[in-house]
């Protein structure tokens, strides 16, 4: 399989090239007949690679070509697949395939149809290459390529100003992260003299034994933090998360694929991939954990107050990413990846479900104009219910296992912040349950609040089938990690994290936490039931009483406004100042000033030529006298 590795990314690339070149003229309507086979093909190949890696427990790699031979900074593009990559391959290709199938129904009739079905394979290609990259720079390349695809897909409805602004905002915020990531790469190169992950002089080995390479702990911390800030940019962690909610401007399948399952997890994958750097310095781990926990809690709290169905799911994604981040921060590496996998499935399901709701409601996204849809869309309702239960972490479903394992991992980890993170994790779990079921009750139960001429209908088979598949996956994928800590998944992934030594978790600890998290989840559901089904608590009056908090949450903790005031507008003012004052007046002013002053002098000097011979004679006389005087004094030995 080693020499067929390049096929996995190649298929979507070929699909992209075909669709983009001939899409507009010939393919037009049935561009999906090119995209879906490619996705399925790379899915099958991923399974084959997964099986091969699973059976003989060693990584496979394939060298493609040398990219930049700049002196000793020699970059070779080669593919490397180990256990971690195998998992990611599976996640990306399966979700990609399902989204392609789903979109046939959802995007039917769109005018830029071929455009959609060329950007999606491009995205899958970039994501696969990112995952298969074996050095930081190749990863960085496809990191930005993925950013490009998200820009193009968010800006799909380019006629809308909001879509254009959202795309621009996403790209620029990602670029802020990429700045830190780039600087991180440079620092890694100049400290480890190479940026290849694996191999004996790879950075993972060197970072692990950084002491005996004479590298200071501070440098390792710096690299860790820089790489994580890069990850924050992509995985929408606390300061740089502002672009994800706006990214909902794109079509819903895009949100499902990119902003739920794959792209946003790239940051987590990158941090996981360079785990020895983080292991090297606790401060870096602490930083990651703190950011993760803040994000988890913040996103969950904001999700409570949102009215747009996709915004709620988007904030829930940010919150779950926060979970994965603080799992990494507290050393629960395998738990983080496990949660990543499960989250991909049930979050993809939630997005596709909300997509089919919107599709049914002819573009209506505001929950306050929905209600009682379970009668009209039974399949969507049931699959959505499974997804939200999994997301909330209800017992048998996937969400419970991975989230519970993260909290246990955090609690038991040796970093003193672990316990605090676990508690925050639990509060966030409660809030997650609350807002998920608030959404379910508002949308599917209660009286129908949409106006008459909207008659919701169940989605066609193209959309229903993926929903069902994902629902089934959300139920069973959890058992891969059963029993907690030493399930099949953990034992498989330990090979990727050989420098990580696991923690002994007594059975009692797992049971107690199992029960605690279930209780928390169910209480969340109960509160949601009371407020939204029984209308016992009047939400509006609650909002007035705590209007301060409510507005704070509703306005997304004023992060957007903060950035706008602190960064964007000042930059524009500086730019205007630089242009108007410095460039035009000072530099150009001096340049033109020199010119005009010379012309002015010349106009005055011109006056000397008065035209009368007497003046001329006088001036010649004066010149002579001065010349004589000066030189006689200076040279003659008179005095």
């Amino acid at each position: 399989m080693a020499d067929l590795l390049y096929l996995i990314p190649l298929l979507p690339l070929v699909a992209f090239v075909i669709n983009i070149l001939w899409g507009r003229s010939t393919i037009r309507g049935n561009a999906h007949w090119i995209a879906i086979p490619a996705a399925v093909g790379s899915w099958v190949l991923s399974i084959i690679t997964f099986r091969e890696i699973y059976t003989d427990h060693h990584a496979i790699s394939q060298r493609l070509f040398t990219w930049i031979p700049a002196g000793d900074f020699n970059i070779v593009v080669s593919l490397y697949a180990d256990q971690l990559t195998a998992v990611m391959l599976l996640v990306v290709t399966s979700i990609g395939m399902l989204v392609c199938i789903y979109s046939v129904g959802y995007m039917h009739g769109e005018d830029g149809y071929y455009r959609f079905y060329s950007y999606i394979p491009l995205f899958i290609f970039s994501m696969l290459m990112l995952v298969l990259a074996d050095n930081l720079l190749t990863l960085f390349i496809f990191w930005e390529a993925v950013g490009l695809c998200s820009y193009l897909l968010i800006g799909y409805y380019f006629r809308r100003r909001s879509a254009g602004n959202a795309a621009k905002k996403a790209f620029i915020v990602n670029r802020v992260g990429d700045l830190a990531f780039g600087i991180g790469i440079m620092l890694t190169y100049w400290t480890f003299d190479s940026i290849y992950f694996h191999g004996e002089d790879g950075i993972l080995e060197k970072a692990y034994h950084f002491a005996d390479y004479g590298i200071s702990e501070g440098t390792i911390m710096a690299i860790g933090i820089l790489l994580f800030i890069g990850a924050c940019g992509k995985s929408a962690q606390f300061p740089l998360h502002i672009w994800l909610p706006d990214a909902m401007e794109g079509p819903t399948p895009v949100s499902a694929l990119i902003h739920a399952a794959t792209m946003v997890t790239a940051g987590i994958y990158m941090s996981a991939r360079s785990y020895t750097i983080f292991i090297g310095s606790e401060n870096a781990m602490l930083f990651v954990a703190v950011i993760g926990s803040i994000t988890a809690f913040m996103a969950a709290s904001i999700a409570l107050t949102q009215h747009d169905i996709k915004k709620v799911v988007a904030y829930s994604t940010v919150s779950q990413l926060g979970y994965m981040a603080f799992a990494l921060g507290t050393g629960a590496w395998v738990a983080a990846i496990f949660h990543l996998m499960t989250h991909a499935f049930f979050k993809g399901l939630l997005f596709l479900g909300s997509g089919s709701v919107i599709h049914g409601m002819h573009g209506e996204q505001d929950m306050r104009k929905m209600g009682g849809l379970r009668k009209h869309m039974p399949i969507t309702f049931w699959t959505f219910l499974i997804g939200s239960a999994a997301n909330a972490g209800i017992f048998p479903l996937a969400g419970f296992w991975s989230k519970d394992e993260i909290i246990v991992g955090a609690w038991v980890s040796d970093s003193h912040y672990g316990k605090v993170a676990a508690i925050i994790g639990l509060c966030a779990a409660f809030l997650t349950a609350l807002y998920m079921f608030r959404l379910v009750f508002l949308v599917f139960f209660g009286e129908e609040r949409f106006d008459s001429h909207v008659h919701p209908h169940e989605s066609g088979p193209w959309m229903a089938v993926p929903l069902v598949i994902l629902a089934v996956a959300s139920i069973f994928v959890g058992f891969v990690g059963f029993p907690p800590e030493d399930g099949a998944f953990h034992e498989f992934l330990h090979h990727a994290f050989e420098h990580v030594h696991g923690h002994e978790v007594s059975m009692t600890m797992t049971y107690t936490f199992g029960i605690v998290s279930t209780v928390v989840a169910l209480s969340g559901v109960a509160v949601a039931y009371i407020t939204y089904m029984r209308k016992a608590i009047n939400t509006d009056e609650l909002a007035e009483r705590f209007s301060g908090i409510y507005n704070f949450l509703y306005n997304k903790w004023y992060v957007d406004e903060f950035f706008m005031a602190a960064v964007v507008n000042p930059m524009k003012d500086i730019a205007n100042f630089l242009w108007k004052v410095v460039d035009v007046r000072i530099i150009d002013g001096t340049v033109n000033g020199v010119g005009t002053s010379i012309v002015a002098i010349s106009a005055r000097l011109r006056r000397v030529q008065t035209g009368s011979v007497a003046n001329y004679a006088l001036e010649i006389g004066v010149g002579m006298v001065v010349l004589l005087g000066v030189f006689l004094v200076a040279f003659g030995n008179l005095f």
Partner: protein, 563 residues
């Protein structure tokens, strides 16, 4: 000594073409264009031959040496090495494209236009190929006059001011360089008693310490100012926006793609090897200026109302990388600066042509005048996106390699400097995407606002309400029917239909009738796109060509003439 003087022929074919055009009768025939194209194509083919027969080492090849003024030690000495070869091929390629571009856009005084264009090409080729300071200076000045004429005669509104400013600014710098050349020539004579302006010998002089520390400092300064004006480096850049805005499209393509590289090439060819101590003492100043230039250029580009001025300031920012890379003092920096020079040639040249396309149709360059071109000019929008992301420095395109390598080299010099440099990644994304958003995306002329748009302006909401009352169905995110987006204005029976729709935002001009990219425009832009992509994905051959020469320059090794 290669017997066949291919370099001289390469340099003088355009001049012969120019003379042929001049001697040709004054009739309004298409002959001047054809001769110009033939001459430039011939020199392009010759440059390709040189490219393929060039041995990848650090010697000067295809050299020609004829003594000219024995008394002054001036000889006609031409040769090419790793550094100048790539720039020569870029020059001939861009000139061919520029001539093809002005095939139907230049209407008045075509004969003089093509004569000036060909003279310009000879000047530029001469600068890159001459290895004797005297003829280098001659070609450097010869280049000035045709460019000033190009801007002055075929430019737009206040072209005369721009032409004169460009001419005087560059002339002042080059005169300073003349004094520098002679001072060095004098110092070498005092030291070795030999009068020569041959670069190789002067470099040997530098090696055996002919130039005192003080002299090196001042002569470096003189050379540096002349080249800094050409780059343009931060304080000396104010001529560039005027020159670019006023010059015709083909002129600003050549100006951006090649003439800005003269400064960088000069620093690489003269300042670094000839004045090692001078470079060491000047390096901090240059680096600070470059970083200021990078950030300053990007920031100012953010608020420009005129498209060409925006791209011009972005060139100031990109070219800041070149000087930064040269003086950072490691191989990555040098190779990065060479790559930036090449990449900037493709990307900015193409961007100017794209603006030219729109200028031919709309006869204005103000950003407000455009909007929603994606729906009316699909192909143009696609190319615009490709080159926007190329110039932002998206990996996979040629822009990224250069900028990353320079930043990498700078990091080795001083980490904080690299951080400041790499912030341009954000700024360039910001201004380019701002430009793209205002020009490409958004509502085209006469297009109804999209009901599902969340950032609708109040007047757009009113319009929607008016429109909504006609159709009677709710706004639907992806409803098939209510999607007049691309179906253009036909379906949109707006009330005051002045023939074909209405401006969607103040200042917009009617772009609904604009044809998409014509065949000629495609011929010019597609090669640049392919090159930019190819160099971005597989730059290995380019590195192979320039690495030995740059390594020699870095280590200050004495260069020798190869076979």
């Amino acid at each position: 000594m290669d017997s066949f003087p291919i370099l001289s022929i390469l340099t003088y074919v355009p001049v012969l073409g120019a003379i042929a055009i001049l001697l040709m009768a004054r009739g309004e025939s298409k002959l001047p264009k054809q001769i110009a194209l033939a001459a430039s194509l011939l020199s392009f083919v010759l440059s390709l031959i040189v490219l393929f027969r060039f041995k990848r080492d650090d010697t000067f090849q295809f050299t020609e040496h004829h003594v000219w003024l024995k008394d002054l030690g001036v000889s006609y000495f031409m040769g090419v090495d790793g550094i100048s070869l790539l720039l020569v091929v870029l020059t001939t390629l861009i000139t061919v494209i520029a001539i093809v571009w002005s095939w139907d856009t230049v209407k008045k005084r075509e004969r003089e236009y093509y004569v000036a264009m060909l003279l310009l090409e000879t000047g530029m080729l001469g600068v890159f190929l001459s290895l004797d300071l005297f003829i280098f200076y001659i070609f450097w000045e010869v280049m000035l006059i045709p460019m000033a004429l190009l801007i002055g005669i075929w430019g737009s509104q206040n072209r005369v001011y721009a032409a004169i400013k460009f001419f005087l600014y560059t002339l002042a710098g080059s005169l300073l360089m003349l004094v520098g050349i002679i001072a060095m020539y004098q110092a070498y004579y005092n030291q070795t008693g030999v009068r020569t302006l041959n670069i190789l010998e002067l470099q040997q002089g530098a090696a055996l310490g002919a130039y005192s520390q003080n002299l090196q400092f001042w002569v470096f300064g003189a050379f540096f100012i002349a080249f800094a004006i050409k780059v343009p480096l931060f304080p000396f850049h104010t001529w560039l926006p005027d020159a670019h805005v006023e010059s015709p499209t083909a002129g600003s393509v050549i100006l951006a793609a090649i003439m800005l590289k003269m400064g960088g090439y000069g620093l690489l060819r003269f300042n670094l090897p000839l004045f090692p101590d001078g470079s060491a003492s000047w390096a901090p100043i240059v680096i600070i200026l470059s970083i200021i230039g990078i950030i300053y250029g990007a920031l100012v580009a953010l608020v420009q109302p005129d498209m060409k001025k925006l791209i011009a300031y972005s060139s100031v920012s990109h070219m800041g990388f070149v000087t930064l890379g040269i003086f950072v003092g490691n191989l990555q920096g040098l190779e990065g600066s060479m790559m930036v020079m090449l990449a900037h040639g493709f990307n900015t040249g193409a961007l100017f042509m794209l603006i030219g396309v729109v200028y031919e149709r709309g006869h204005t360059r103000l950003i407000d005048a455009f909007g929603g071109l994606a729906s009316t000019m699909g192909k143009w929008a696609a190319f615009w996106l490709v080159f926007t992301f190329a110039s932002i420095g998206l990996p996979g395109f040629s822009g990224f390699i250069g900028e990353f390598l320079v930043a990498l080299g700078t990091y080795h010099y001083k980490p904080f400097a690299a951080f400041m440099t790499f912030t341009v990644v954000i700024l360039s994304a910001w201004y380019m995407l701002y430009l793209t958003q205002r020009v490409v995306w958004g509502r085209a002329w006469g297009q109804a606002p999209d009901p599902a748009d969340n950032d609708l302006l109040p007047e757009e909401k009113l319009e929607l309400a008016a429109l909504g009352s006609d159709h009677g169905h709710g706004h639907d995110d992806h409803g098939h029917t209510a999607h007049p987006a691309v179906s253009g204005g036909d379906h949109d029976h707006h009330a005051e239909d002045d023939g074909d729709g209405y401006p969607t935002h103040p200042g917009q001009i009617n772009s609904s009738k604009w044809p998409d990219m014509t065949m000629k425009e495609m011929i010019c832009i597609v090669p640049l796109a392919v090159l930019s992509l190819a160099v971005g994905v597989y730059p290995k051959p380019l590195f192979a060509i320039m690495e030995p020469a740059l390594k020699a320059v870095l280590e200050g090794a004495t260069r020798v003439i190869g076979s």
